[in-house]
């Protein structure tokens, strides 16, 4: 129940104090990425390009994008091989 007094109002809407502590906790790129790209074995339509980009060669993390879908796979050997194709050791 909302306290209609000014003190209650401050407690309810005084997000400033809590927010100062929370301000450092901006969503990380990792968190956003993992929330947005749940692994999927189905990348949908067979029409249109399939894009694969290597996020991190060392870990082998590769993001696949096609149609409306995105998937993340881990394959160090493939990531390394792809990197060598473009002159990255």
């Amino acid at each position: 129940m909302i306290d209609p007094t000014r003190r209650g109002f401050l407690a309810v809407s005084g997000v400033g104090a809590a927010a100062v502590a929370a301000a450092a906790l901006a969503p990380s790129a990792e968190a956003i990425e993992s929330a947005a790209s749940a692994p999927s074995s189905d990348l949908g339509s067979t029409d249109g390009p399939l894009v694969a980009y290597v996020d991190d060669v060392a870990s082998g993390r590769i993001t696949l994008v096609a149609g409306d879908s995105r998937a993340v796979v881990t394959d160090r050997a493939l990531a390394t091989s792809l990197a060598r194709k473009v002159g990255r050791s």
């Binding site: 909302i2 209609p4 007094t5 000014r6 209650g8 109002f9 401050l10 309810v12 809407s13 005084g14 997000v15 400033g16 104090a17 809590a18 927010a19 100062v20 929370a22 301000a23 906790l25 901006a26 969503p27 956003i32 947005a36 790209s37 249109g48 390009p49 894009v51 980009y53 994008v65 096609a66 149609g67 409306d68 879908s69 995105r70």
Partner: protein
């Protein structure tokens, strides 16, 4: 254009630049709510030969939360498709366009509307035509008639319009972004100049507008039209967004890029001026890519607004009380991040819960005002901003005065606003086409032939 070119990345992407959001109980149809989301700022009416249009590669959305979670409970999605009728000509139109189906219009654009709610997507309109832009008296004679043809009725008592409108937001851009200048009070500035009337920086400019009018019951948590202002179910939170595909592929010699992947949000907007003057430049792009439910990460910029610290510096001696006030700005946090709970403003509340989120909060049980005051709630008109936002609400004046301390007494009666606070204004008013009394409420766009460019000065 309260939020126009407000972040580094979106300033390079006008078609996805969400500039204003409006939400209000329709004054002429009070059992409905009108939602408006504007994009594509700073449109020069003479901007041919490829005139402004919605992006076929952009997903435009208007979101509504009604259950206090700051997450979308209802979303309306708009997808556009453009075609070229005559591939052999460079012309936008090959003769006068006298109807939205006129074959002389070489580049017609149509769109679909999808309503997403409770996990289901329902297509509620397709093949709807956008009117041509207001090219000029020869190409688009009787523009009001063309625009009227582009108001489409949808099932369920809904109406929709998507197309060019006159920019309805007025502000002295040139002065405000010239070190926070306000022309009427120029002499008081740290760098004093003579006092003059404000200059509306959006004069003679157009914008693209998506306007949707739906029964109030379409938006509320219980599917009913509430009449109790105190009922939490009477409050909805509204915001708009634009998204693009995750990957763009540009191939040699191909012309058009290929877009692939799920949509990624690149722009969002609820309250006017939030990302514009509250979020620091280094985080504006991040803010555009996040959802309102994540706004606790930005709440510090509301409770300790940079602009409130600048005003006493830029106007020395004018804001001593504001300068001395060091407490967190609970008033601004309420107005912008949670809504105003009951008991603060007699007979009014638009509280959506404790989750800090930039939402345009509309209490749909507050009826339209018989004599609207553009200063809205702070002037005793609860039908106006920040209870939603009407097209004519003077949000610049309201927010300037709020930041300067006018609303602090709502939460801290020990504070006395500085004498100048209630007189702050940028001195502008709407100098574009007048607002309409009926849907879609924003005025007809300036025509390319009819409009004279401004007078440059260095």
């Amino acid at each position: 254009m309260s939020s126009h070119r407000e972040a580094p990345e979106i300033s390079k992407d006008p078609a996805a630049d969400n500039t204003d959001v409006y939400a209000f109980v329709s004054p002429d149809q009070p059992d409905t709510v009108t939602l408006i989301a504007n994009y594509l700022p700073f449109q020069n009416p003479q901007g041919g030969p490829n005139f402004y249009e919605f992006g076929d590669d952009v997903l435009y959305e208007i979101h509504i939360c009604n259950a206090g979670s700051a997450k979308a409970d209802v979303t309306y999605q708009f997808r556009f498709q453009t075609k070229i009728r005559n591939a052999k000509t460079f012309l936008y139109n090959t003769g006068p366009i006298t109807s939205i189906d006129d074959p002389d219009w070489n580049r017609p654009q149509t769109y679909s509307v999808t309503r997403v709610a409770k996990g289901k997507s329902v297509l509620i309109g397709r093949g709807l035509t956008v009117p041509p832009v207001n090219v000029g008296v020869r190409s688009t004679p009787n523009y009001a008639n063309l625009a009227a043809q582009a108001i489409h009725r949808l099932p369920g008592g809904r109406r929709v319009f998507a197309g060019q409108r006159a920019e309805g937001f007025f502000v002295d851009l040139g002065s405000i972004f010239d070190l926070a200048g306000l022309r009427p009070v120029n002499p008081a500035h740290l760098i004093p100049l003579a006092a003059v009337e404000g200059v509306n920086g959006t004069q003679a400019l157009n914008v693209h507008s998506i306007a949707l009018q739906v029964p109030t019951s379409d938006l509320t948590r219980d599917g009913k039209r509430p009449n109790d202002v105190a009922d939490p179910a009477s409050v909805i939170g509204v915001w708009a967004s634009a998204s693009r595909r995750a990957v763009t592929i540009r191939r040699d010699h191909a012309g058009n890029p290929v877009e692939v992947g799920p949509y990624v949000q690149v722009s969002r907007l609820a309250n006017p001026l939030f990302n514009e003057v509250i979020v620091p430049m280094s985080r504006k792009d991040e803010w555009n890519a996040t959802d309102p439910a994540q706004d606790s990460a930005f709440a510090q910029y509301v409770s300790q607004p940079e602009l409130a610290g600048l005003l006493p510096v830029v106007y020395p001696g004018v804001f001593p009380n504001l300068a001395a006030y060091t407490k967190p700005r609970a008033d601004l946090s309420a107005i912008l991040l949670t809504g105003i709970p009951a008991g603060i403003v007699p007979g009014f509340q638009n509280f959506t819960g404790t989750t800090p989120a930039d939402l345009l909060r509309l209490n749909v049980a507050v009826p339209p005002a018989n004599s609207p005051n553009p200063l809205g709630l702070v002037a005793g008109d609860p039908a106006g901003f920040p209870n939603g936002r009407r097209v004519f609400d003077d949000v610049v004046t309201v927010e300037l005065r709020a930041v300067a301390g006018l609303t602090i007494p709502l939460v801290d009666p020990s504070f006395t606003p500085d004498g100048a606070t209630s007189a702050i204004k940028d001195g502008t008013s709407n100098t574009n086409a007048p607002y309409l009394d009926t849907f879609p409420y924003l005025g007809h766009p300036a025509g390319g032939y009819q409009t004279k460019p401004g007078t440059p000065a260095a």
